[in-house]
Amino acid sequence: MANLNGAVYGLTILSPIIDDKTAVPSHDLQIREYLASLPTGEDSPFAIAPGTHLARLVVMDDVIYVGMPACEEHLKSKYLVFESNLDGSLESYLVGLAQSVPQHLDAIWSHCVGYPGSTPIPAFIQYMKACQLETTFFFAAVNDKSVTQTLRALQTQRAVADFIADHQGMKPEQLQIEFARFVELLKSEPAPRPGATTIARTMTTGGHNE
């Protein structure tokens, strides 16, 4: 199935936006305004709900005319595009979204035709699947690691760099003890939060900023 690459699922959803000439502002603009106010860091709904590597929401106004001799044509609806690269199965992902951030889902998708709300969850899943497109070709640079595993690995990478720098030239006995402590310390640290940024360390010697 082309929606899957290894353990990563590529979800593509096209939801038709309500075309109501009496709505002011129009429904597509209301979606855009809401999305513009939505946090993109660790308070993002996709950081709060589990399993999203990367995701985007896009209002697609129309298809694009590429010029003569192609024919010019237009869509009858505007569409909300939801593109997500996620861990696990589609159903568990959608359940996670509906349980974790129902208020955001409702604020966004209530402007779309036929949206039943985030509850009851089976109706929500059925709606999302009705709007889903099958991916024809899906590429993932890393396709066998979950979001948590990747965040952990990035944390380890940073910590290992510090450990190596701080323990150069140490005697083997002491180094082994220090390494065992370091392993326990890393294990006890919580995984970084999705969408979070870390504080940059000051570079004192070398590097590209000198």
Partner: protein
């Protein structure tokens, strides 16, 4: 609107295709999926985290009933979504320089596609068929695709050494630790804020 979050750029593009041509494209993607060596350039470019192409037949736009009007289109459409590191210009330049044959096989079925070389016309075409992202999220905004790959290499080596360590005497541990450092040294680096690009 933001096409950028941290070190990742979200690109969306849509191009029209005559319906009879979409079957050829589907066959090409089928081959690309099955024959992994054909993906080597895409993998080796190493600045694409995730990318997808979706062939959308003209009668398969989601239709949910009243009050939505059913689409009546002459063309099928090719949707392209990419998550890449770097700037738009770097991305298109690299695509054109490294993947021109592959790109031509994908987009030559789209109307008015000028070919990926020369790059000027290619960029004009991409700019025309691209549409902007309204909301973009990434779980690891400070990491590029190479950072993620390197981090997993470091993690695997670290887990291996951590598992071995209790069973080694100090001299054996020192040797294993040296091997570990050699193994990971080119995969250590700072993941931090993205550089400001113009």
């Amino acid at each position: 609107m933001s096409n950028i979050n941290g070190k990742v750029y979200a690109m969306n593009a849509i191009t029209p295709m005559k319906p009879w041509k979409t079957w050829i494209l589907r066959a090409f993607f089928e081959i690309l999926s099955e024959v992994k060596p054909l993906q080597a350039d895409l993998i080796n470019l190493s600045f694409i985290e995730f990318a997808r192409w979706v062939v959308l037949p003209r009668e398969h736009f989601p239709f949910l009933g009243h009050p939505q009007k059913k689409e009546e289109l002459r063309y099928d459409y090719l949707l392209f979504f990419s998550n890449f590191n770097g700037t738009w210009n770097q991305y298109i330049d690299a695509f054109s320089a490294v993947l021109s044959n592959g790109l031509n096989l994908i987009w030559r079925w789209s109307e008015k596609f000028p070919g990926s070389v020369p790059v000027t016309l290619f960029k004009e075409y991409i700019a025309r068929v691209q549409f902007d992202t309204d909301y973009y999220y990434t779980a690891y905004p400070q990491a590029a695709a190479n950072d993620v790959k390197s981090a997993h290499i470091v993690q695997a080596a670290f887990d291996n050494l951590a598992q071995q360590s209790p069973n080694l005497n100090p001299q054996q541990f020192a040797a294993a630790y040296l091997q570990f450092v050699i193994q990971v040294q080119s995969h250590l680096g700072e993941t931090s804020e993205a550089p400001v690009v113009f």
